[in-house]
């Protein structure tokens, strides 16, 4: 009887660290694209607004805090 390979066998050879690294990288790329687009819009269409720079700073600080919170417990 032919042996059918388990399609999920790659999971046993995949370490949780590499999965985490991929997830974190993908999330960071998504966040970076979002941030670039938002910054572009603030500066192109609302740069005369006094709230533009503080808003971007708050976005980066809060995002950084969430990143640290999310990855702080991982070793």
């Amino acid at each position: 009887m032919p042996v059918i390979p388990n399609p999920l066998s790659f999971l046993s050879s995949t370490s949780i660290e590499s999965v985490l690294a991929v997830v974190i990288t993908l999330v960071f790329i998504w966040w970076a694209i979002f941030t670039l687009v938002v910054v572009y819009h603030w500066f192109k269409y609302s740069r005369d607004n006094v709230i533009a720079v503080p808003a971007i700073v708050v976005h980066i600080v809060v995002s950084g805090w969430i990143f640290v919170f999310a990855t702080g417990g991982l070793h």
Partner: protein, 189 residues
């Protein structure tokens, strides 16, 4: 509106955004979604108290002491934050500008869709205000609709504006001023 986008001699009379309460209303769902993980943790602790002999201890897994829980909730919060910040940005990019020549409607539909429309004051035919609803009446915000005359009727609707009656008065005043200052061209004389 940047000065670079205005015509020569054009001056900004009013620069308008929606009432801040509109922004608060849009951000409330994000605040609720932010709080959901806490509810989940509290619920799992409640279940443990109800049935302490259970084989699967959800309370330990769904605790902020667990690094996995922190990671999943952190990623979740990051997306919630991006959504909320996107709404905040959209609020500030949507605006109406009344100049001494026209009304400019800047509508940022999404990050990849921006609509800018102008209605010249000499074409203004009708300006309507509409304040209806409990919060609208209490906090004094509503809709101003400006209709243009001509073969093709255009309309600019400014929704969620603070003091809509004041905005209507300014538009009517500027339209009247524009009308009186226009040179009269007599045809066939």
């Amino acid at each position: 509106m940047d000065a670079a986008h205005l015509h020569a001699g054009e001056k900004v009379v009013l620069s308008l955004r929606k009432h801040p309460l509109i922004l608060v209303g849009k951000l409330i769902p994000f605040a609720f979604l932010d709080y959901l993980p806490y509810l989940l943790v509290q619920m799992s602790e409640y279940l443990r108290e109800m049935n302490p002999t259970t084989m699967v201890n959800l309370a330990d897994a769904l605790s902020f002491d667990s690094p996995w829980m922190r990671f999943i909730v952190g990623i979740y919060w990051l997306f919630i934050w991006m959504g909320a910040f996107g709404v905040f940005t959209d609020y500030f990019l949507d605006r109406w500008v009344v100049t001494n020549e026209r009304i400019i409607d800047v509508n940022q539909k999404s990050f990849w869709s921006r609509q800018v429309a102008s209605l010249f004051l000499h074409r203004v035919q009708n300006v309507e205000t509409d304040v209806s609803g409990f919060f609208h009446t209490i906090f004094g915000f509503g809709t101003v609709s400006v209709e243009s005359a001509g073969a093709e009727v255009n309309r600019i609707r400014m929704t969620g504006l603070s003091r809509p009656e004041h905005v209507r008065d300014v538009i009517l005043r500027e339209a009247a001023r524009h009308e009186t200052e226009r040179p009269i061209v007599r045809v066939g004389m």
